[in-house]
Symmetry: C2
Subunit: 323 residues, 2 copies
């Protein structure tokens, strides 16, 4: 049965052109997956999406809408999946945090040159951490495929292509990327930088009202999660994420997502406490439960260790259920 949603989703890929590098991305993913062909049903494979998508406001893009996500949840979770023996496809916002590298990008007060003394040598206090993370990144490098996106359009094309490639597998889709709910369709995108003064506006690209205000109209992004669950990756275990700032909405929105898309799990958190506690709501379960870092654990571990530990256990059952 074709629904209004289906039509919107199908139309999307007609109107919005595929990113130039898509064929390259597909062939890299194909190679990465083929190398693991000898592993079949017990295939421990996860797609981790991470970071925010951008929404260009012009075709020759100067301005865009963005999201505060730095990619911490995705990059840290990818590390945990690697530790658990998973192969990880890491689809991330270009220049957002990456597994292992992320440990050197998190501080406001440390720039690249701060890691070195005036002789150009690594400062002693950083040596151990650099060696440790370098060794980890080497150990896991064959199990990690790093793929970039920038815009929400890059993301959607990539997600679809990867999902279709993995379609016969029982892998995990761990969709931690912060995907925009709104965008400007390609056929409505102004070619050039939006002008701030009426006299420089082209007739075909009017965005200012009579008082000089900028009025932006953004279309809703079609709900591709439905398509992913029903068609693109219908043997995979699919996990979506909710970030809210208003505590009153979090649980209601997580419940609604499961009802709308029929996927397996929603992980929700509030902006201010996202590194200390998350709620997990599973399909067919009555009630959400929470994972929390205790204060004494906050130094030695991270919330993603708790999350991924639970997810991989659930995934073991999932894989069994397909046998």
């Amino acid at each position: 049965m074709s629904t209004a949603g289906d039509l919107l989703e199908n139309k999307y890929f007609f109107v919005n052109p595929k990113p130039e590098y898509l064929d390259d991305l597909i062939s890299k993913t194909q190679d990465f997956v083929n190398e693991q062909n000898n592993i079949t049903t017990d295939d421990k494979l996860v797609l981790v999406t991470s970071g925010g998508t951008s929404v260009p406001l012009e075709d020759n893009t100067v301005r865009f809408i963005d999201n505060i996500s730095a990619g911490t949840r995705g990059a840290s979770s990818a590390e945990q999946f690697l530790f658990k023996g998973y192969k990880v496809i890491f689809l991330h916002r270009q220049f957002s945090l990456q597994p292992f590298n992320r440990h050197f990008n998190k501080s406001i007060n440390t720039s690249f040159l701060d890691y070195f003394d005036t002789n150009g040598e690594i400062k002693p206090k950083y040596k151990e951490e650099i060696l440790k993370m370098k060794k980890l990144s080497e150990t896991y490098k064959d199990n990690l495929l790093i793929l970039p996106f920038t815009t929400v359009n890059d993301y959607l094309w990539s997600l679809r292509s990867i999902a279709v490639l993995l379609n016969s597998r029982n892998c995990i889709f761990y969709l931690a990327a912060a995907v925009s709910d709104f965008y400007v369709p390609y056929d409505k995108l102004p070619k050039h930088k939006i002008q701030s003064r009426a006299e420089f506006q082209k007739e075909s690209e009017k965005h200012l009202d009579d008082t000089g205000k900028l009025v932006l109209d953004l279309d809703p992004v079609p709900k591709f999660l439905r398509k992913l669950v029903q068609t693109w990756a219908n043997r995979s275990m699919i996990i979506s994420f909710k970030l809210e700032t208003d505590p009153e909405l979090l649980i209601a929105k997580a419940k609604q997502a499961l009802e709308n898309y029929n996927h397996q799990l929603v992980i929700g958190n509030l902006l201010h406490s996202r590194n200390r506690e998350v709620m997990i709501l599973a399909e067919n379960s009555e009630k959400e439960h929470w994972l929390r870092l205790s204060e004494k654990n906050e130094e030695s571990t991270c919330i993603e260790e708790l999350i991924v530990d639970e997810i991989t256990k659930t995934h073991d059952f999932w894989m069994q259920s397909w046998k």
Copy 2:
């Protein structure tokens, strides 16, 4: 004479609260400037602004409008001013490029850990560049004050505070930051993350129209360049920047800026050729002229070397004119 523009500009700082760290920024700037108190009229001091401003769409910010600027022009120019003996106040978008550090952040293909071998040592091919830039950053560290901003509001409060502090001096304002022309005033900013479904929208925070589109209304940012030239920094040499994507508009917009604000110089460039050529339009000059890197120079120098060489010569005349 008070104009409509004046009113808008004055109202701005009533409606939009100052950033929490502003007093700290002012006191750091005061200290930096005081250290140079023994130098008086020949005070070679420049404020370089750099990177893009963000425009939050919510108070508990998840989404914001941003600008593609990475801060290359500002960071590279700051280096050149240091080489010419200037003290530099570098007001930049947090996490955008910084002088000397910028040489290690420019590549898509090089992450932090790529600089090290599996023993955790610096790879030989990077040693020379790291040592060179570390030495330069040490040499000039007392002449460089690095200050951050994130939002357009942070930027405007900081610019005003710094300008007022420097008011008696004949320094350079080198305004390379990409400042948004539009913003959401604080009294219209929704408290929480904008919802993508009508049923979760609060009555007071309606942004969706009946078809589910997001409609954003942004106010024009008051034109503070006028205020800077007339009041805040009326003894300084003020340089603004224009970036356009449409070649037809560039020169007209540069001319209009000089006419509107009566400052000293506009530097303009097109997005695609910004690292190879810029146009300079000076007050009272008939016509713009261009600075261009020749192909054989592109490896050994950067366009900012040409720009800053010209600017500092003009500044010498400027300082003489006040004696």
